[in-house]
């Protein structure tokens, strides 16, 4: 025991003395690790001299101009939006219903609903992607567009539910009782009392669902046929087969979408909610 103490005591004292400094070092270095690659992407989008040569000789806006005149890239963005926007709407509706049902009602299969709404996060994307292409295309023969929108809904519902459910659970139901005591019926109460209170959570859930759908790759890659790639599929093809400097610009587009959506979501709810993953 004392032999161990002789080894550990100096360590303990060292840790005690330098804990705050060590913590600061960890925070700074890990956050630098997380952000430096993103900084590299943004910087390289202004680099002259084409793809992947560092350091660049000159900075330029040339690749941004080329991106704006590249129909394939713009089409990919439009394709992505025609999928992400309806998928987000459906997801918000479904997730709100799930949150409402789990919060308000006790029914057989309630825990199954919660499990089903969580599982898509846990099952590896490649497994669900395979299952979806087999069932959507092989069994049901769904058209590409419908299959991809459904896939995006399945991908985004768990995340939206994770954000929306806590806002329902933390909502003070005494307010609803008060509304009803004052003569409002159930629907009026929902519209005038419940909805305004859970609205920020619902919007935040929608913003994150949109972000996730805009970035969605694995399900789309499996479920979708070859034509009309979404932006993530387009960029995957670019990276795998012919990298052009535009890829850096598209990276910045992704970054801008993610940062603005997440900041908007955080600004209307608590960061811990978004942080649930």
């Amino acid at each position: 025991m004392s032999a161990i103490d002789r080894v550990t005591d100096p360590l303990e004292r060292f840790t005690q003395a330098h804990a705050a400094r060590m913590a600061a070092a960890v925070i700074v270095s890990v956050i630098a690790f997380l952000w430096l690659p993103i900084g590299v992407l943004v910087f390289m989008s202004f680099a002259d001299g084409g793809v992947l040569s560092f350091p660049p000789d000159e900075l330029t806006l040339r690749w941004y101009r080329e991106f704006l005149t590249n129909d394939a890239a713009i089409d990919a963005i439009v394709t992505t939006l025609t999928i992400s926007i309806p998928a987000t709407g459906i997801t918000v509706a479904l997730s709100t219903m799930i949150a409402y049902a789990i919060d308000r009602y006790v029914f057989p299969g309630r825990s199954w609903l919660q499990l089903l709404a969580t599982l898509p996060i846990i099952v590896p994307l490649v497994v669900t992607g395979v299952a979806m292409v087999l069932f959507f295309k092989g069994t049901l023969g769904l058209p590409d567009y419908v299959a991809v929108v459904i896939a995006h809904v399945i991908r985004t519902v768990p995340f939206a539910t994770l954000v929306i459910l806590p806002t329902f659970l933390s909502f003070d139901r005494g307010l609803e009782e008060a509304s009803k005591d004052l003569g409002a019926d159930e629907f009026e109460t929902f519209r005038q009392v419940t909805l305004p209170n859970v609205f920020p959570g619902v919007v935040a859930g929608g913003l994150l669902a949109f972000t996730l759908s805009f970035n969605e790759f694995v399900y789309t890659y499996f479920v979708k046929g070859s034509g009309d790639p979404t932006l993530p599929v387009y960029i995957w093809n670019q990276i795998r087969y012919n990298v052009t400097p535009e890829v850096n610009v598209i990276s910045v587009v992704f970054l801008a979408v993610a940062v603005s959506m997440v900041l908007a979501a955080v600004s209307i709810t608590r960061v811990e909610l978004i942080a649930q993953r």
Partner: protein, 320 residues
């Protein structure tokens, strides 16, 4: 489109309401809706069904049943609807190549999980115990997670390739180039990068819930910071640790993007074999069988994790 039928019915008689005030027209909707809600209130089962039914149905039809369909197809020969067979499994399980791939995938996943758990826990601990600007730091940690996975991998291609950012900087410092792209190290870095934010969150949550008095008590009783950490903090936050480990291990085990983009031709992982079955070999039943193999590994891990006390399914629910 699988839309819920309720709550969106606009008044069809809107034309007659043109002169009515805003309040007037919504009163019409309210009236009808309150008729509906009264009807539903008297039938609580129907009411529950109307709210829980649509999402339930969609998750079952488009998530649960496809997984079952995958199980069924994995027992069919050559194509969907082919003759029943066990060949997909026997072929896979007797192939030394595939078993090697599974073992390598497992080893990489273990390494990634260990690195991410250690670094992520250190970060979460530092933020919770030593920083006052937790909101800002948490935001800085999670923001990269919400950008495109492929883009984040592409960033590392920029950095790690020969003559990339890293090698150029090393060159400036007079050090030899590393040329890390297409190596195991690149794959480890890539995975660590994408999963770190994901693991920090459950660590952070469990550390925030930890009662600080317990740590003070341990120190009052004479334990140093390391002993306190090992005998109080870590055991008290084991649920968060297990959740984080599960959240990192499972997607790593099934991943194909990172090894495809950052790994070399000898860094094949099991997810890439599946991708191959669906994108070039076109043997769907065999791909389905491999999907089942991954699922079995995942379920086994989840069972172990639940035994150890990971609060996975309550995530975001009752704990909030």
């Amino acid at each position: 489109m699988p839309e819920s039928p309720s709550s969106t019915d606009e008044p069809a008689d809107g034309s007659g309401d043109e002169l009515a005030t805003d309040g007037g027209s919504t009163a019409g909707v309210d009236g009808r809706m309150s008729g509906l809600t009264t009807y539903l209130r008297e039938r609580p089962r129907l009411r529950t069904l109307a709210i829980a039914g649509p999402p339930y149905g969609i998750l079952v039809l488009f998530f649960a049943i496809p997984l079952l369909a995958m199980l069924v197809v994995s027992f069919q020969a050559d194509q969907i609807g082919g003759a029943w067979t066990l060949h997909n499994y026997t072929d896979f399980l007797t192939s030394e190549t595939y078993l090697t791939v599974v073992w390598r995938t497992f080893l990489i996943s273990v390494q990634v999980t260990a690195i991410v758990a250690a670094v992520g826990y250190a970060l979460a601990y530092s933020i919770v115990r030593f920083s006052r600007r937790t909101t800002l730091l948490l935001l800085l940690v999670i923001l990269p997670f919400w950008t495109s996975y492929i883009i984040r991998m592409y960033a590392w291609i920029n950095i790690l390739q020969s003559d990339g950012v890293l090698d150029s900087l090393l060159d400036l410092a007079g050090l030899p180039a590393l040329g890390l792209l297409y190596t195991d190290t690149a794959v480890l870095i890539g995975f660590t990068y994408v999963w770190l934010p994901l693991a920090v969150l459950p660590f952070y949550a469990s550390l925030t819930n930890l009662d600080g008095d317990l740590i003070e008590a341990s120190k009052d009783l004479g334990a140093g910071p390391i002993r306190t950490f090992l005998s109080v903090t870590l055991p008290m936050t084991i649920n968060g640790v297990v959740t984080g480990i599960v959240l990192v291990f499972i997607p790593t085990f099934g991943s194909f993007i990172t090894p495809r983009l950052l790994g070399g031709t000898n860094n094949i992982m099991i997810g890439m074999v599946i991708e191959n079955q669906f994108k070039s070999a076109f043997n769907w039943p065999f791909g389905a069988a491999i999907g089942m193999v991954i699922s079995v590994v995942v379920v086994a891990l989840l069972v172990v994790a639940m035994r150890l006390g990971g609060g996975l399914f309550g995530a975001g629910g009752e704990t909030a």
